[in-house]
Symmetry: C2
Subunit: 424 residues, 2 copies
């Protein structure tokens, strides 16, 4: 833990720094993987499964049988929980559908926007220590609501060549039937380039390690869009004297357990809450199965005593955290001050895990200070908004002169002619 | 002109190909420019002005006097036209403001989104053959509506070291007072890195040549966002037997005059309209001051006879044009078929120039088939949508079990604890 008592404002820019990753180092490898997948297709993916995931896979497509069996391999309780979460996520994301509103900017000139789903989207779900079926919900639910016609999912197999049944169950529940056993940069390459089995998609979503992140960035040169740039997960908790140290500690640790690079920041105005939260963290961490990872994350975490909640909010806006928890009695007062954050949790009972899993909000959020210029994933991420306009002859008459004068001033006479010829 | 009569569907993927630009070629130069601007700041920009724009500039900041004088250097008619366009653009973009809607996903669990402006944005306006003051409107109006606190503008000086007065007038009208005389990749570098005079911004908007495009792409590694990837401008016109060949020709030419790399596509079911439109193009182009550029664009334009309007729409969806004009009597019938397009113009009186300048829609649109996965610039481009949630104790009780089960199944016990400790 790094402890700061009332740090001066001039030190803040240093305190909000995120870890720097050397992108150049792996860029050669990413290029090689894209070339191999581009040339070798499915066969290259099967070889990468062997090389990187120690998995023997005869074919990369998950079979109907595997998909059907998954349902029997997980508990009823888990199924119910996933269904409940799906309902809440659906409800919140459905509320983001905006009705078309036609605007007559001047008489006879009508403009509006209509949503169209991105036709083909790819979801990447990492393997590794935690089977992130919750991320399947967070990406597949809005993709379906938006009306994406082709939704595919790539995730690495375990060493026996299988996919975690909770991932398969959730995918099926969300209507995804094209699931492929491939992970890492090669999965991203496959979705960007297409193979015999895997269709080329227009946008790639989902978290991953630095290879996946670099591959998503690289994929953009093939015309593919990505959800957002990525970095390690983050939480910033602001607590007042009415906060509960045990709750704050639990929230900080739920961020810390994600990985040794997780970013954890705690700020309070209250010395008692400060020390008791630190004590609670030390106590709670001992019982965690992932306590080694969490401990490493805590080593570089920031615990900051501040003069006022206002000051904490200003620091938070500079930091731009992925998750911001306001463990404040009068949180309503501070909401308008929030400028940069991915998702905000208000009050003592709004733990980050609620949004991570089941409250309804999306957990795919901007990290690494990208909350300054990016939004988290929402229904909007799966659509394009196309503008439409209709001008009547009268409408063009009304606006024609304006267009002609402006076009001429820009030296674009054909633009002017397109009006003049119609009004002649 | 490339003329195709009823091309088979299997040939379409070739027909929709866009020109390929070699990005690797200029990447060394872009890196050098970023390094020079990073080290040299304003002085480097002054030197680049001399080197690339043959302009002597003592300082890069446009002075109050220059800004005030601009008003006297342009005609009253042009001022009025710019003001009229600004009103329409404001009206349409203001209609995109969505009110916050709080959703109770289950009792005691309330989720919503709030917009926050991106604090600092930079607008790039190219110099060159046309002074694009219309693009100032298209970017500054929504930036202001969104509430961006710092809106800066960079544009290259002419060889006398001045900025076109229409650009200055429009910028001032839109409340932009920080204007800098710098262009090309160096302007992008300055906005991404910051200099003594130019503040570092969080998002960069605006068109430009391949150096600007490459620099915007490169800028992203400094954490800056950009409006969208870019390519040459495009129009696809679909006409039926009731279309007016002279109007279609004028629209095609208003695209062609943008530059020799402009993409122009004309499709019709009617042989008479087909030949007469070609004739009208040949006739109209002769009178254009930019006829050499337009002629080069026409050399690689596509004129395609198709069997049905349905077929034309399918081709258009595969092409994903920046601008789509439906010169069709029953255009309403075909709107639902449109899947991929930047902005759509309906009927015989909705010329592209209307949207380019004054109807109210934005003219910063996805090109190069990016209409498959990107929207044009709108109010959304200048805000982040932050999610908020509040859970009451009762709300957490209702949803707690679901979170605990899911967290445990993902192996994230600290996530589970954050709920359990609150419900104990």
């Amino acid at each position: 833990m790094k402890i700061y008592r009332y740090p001066e404002k001039k030190t803040w820019p240093d305190l909000v720094q995120r870890p720097v990753f050397e992108r150049e180092e792996i860029s050669g490898l990413i290029t090689e993987i894209f070339e191999a997948v581009g040339k070798g297709g499915d066969q290259a993916l099967i070889e990468f499964n062997k090389k990187f995931d120690k998995a023997v896979t005869q074919q990369i497509t998950v079979s109907e049988t595997e998909l059907a069996n998954a349902e029997n391999e997980i508990s009823e309780d888990l199924k119910k929980a996933i269904q409940q979460a799906k309902e809440n996520i659906s409800k919140f994301h459905a509320s983001q559908i905006v009705e078309t509103q036609k605007i007559e900017t001047i008489k006879g000139v009508t403009c509006w926007r209509e949503n169209r789903a991105i036709e083909k989207v790819g979801i990447y779900i990492p393997g590794g220590t935690a089977p992130l079926f919750s991320t399947v919900l967070m990406l597949a639910v809005p993709a379906n609501l938006a009306g994406c016609r082709e939704i595919i999912l790539c995730t690495p197999p375990d060493s026996s060549g299988n996919i975690n049944p909770a991932i398969l169950f959730t995918a099926k529940l969300c209507g995804i039937t094209k699931i492929f056993k491939t992970g890492g940069a090669q999965a991203v390459a496959a979705m960007a380039l297409g193979t015999e089995s895997i269709p080329k998609v227009y946008k790639i979503f989902g978290p991953g390690n630095q290879y996946v992140v670099a591959a998503k960035e690289y994929a953009q040169r093939y015309g593919v869009a990505i959800d957002m740039p990525a970095g390690p997960s983050e939480v910033l908790v602001i607590a007042d004297s009415k906060a509960v140290p045990e709750f704050c500690a639990a929230d900080l640790l739920s961020q810390a357990e994600h990985g040794s690079d997780s970013q954890v920041v705690f700020m309070t105005t209250d010395f008692k809450i400060f020390t008791e939260t630190i004590e609670a963290v030390e106590k709670q961490i001992k019982k965690l199965p992932r306590n080694e990872m969490a401990g490493q994350a805590l080593d570089h975490s920031l615990f900051i005593l501040v003069n006022s909640i206002d000051e904490a909010l200003k620091f938070s806006n500079l930091y731009a955290p992925e998750h911001l928890i306001l463990a404040l009695e009068d949180f309503d007062e501070y909401v308008p001050m929030i400028e940069n954050a991915g998702s905000v949790f208000l009050g003592n009972y709004s733990c980050e895990s609620a949004g991570d899993y089941a409250s309804g909000t999306n957990h795919t959020l901007p990290t690494n200070a990208y909350a300054k210029n990016y939004s988290g994933v929402s229904l909007d991420s799966f659509v394009k908004k196309i503008t439409f306009q209709h001008l009547s002859k009268e409408g063009l008459k009304k606006i024609g002169k304006t267009i002609e004068i402006m076009a001429e001033a820009e030296g674009l006479i054909a633009h002017k002619n397109a009006v003049s010829i119609r009004l002649k």
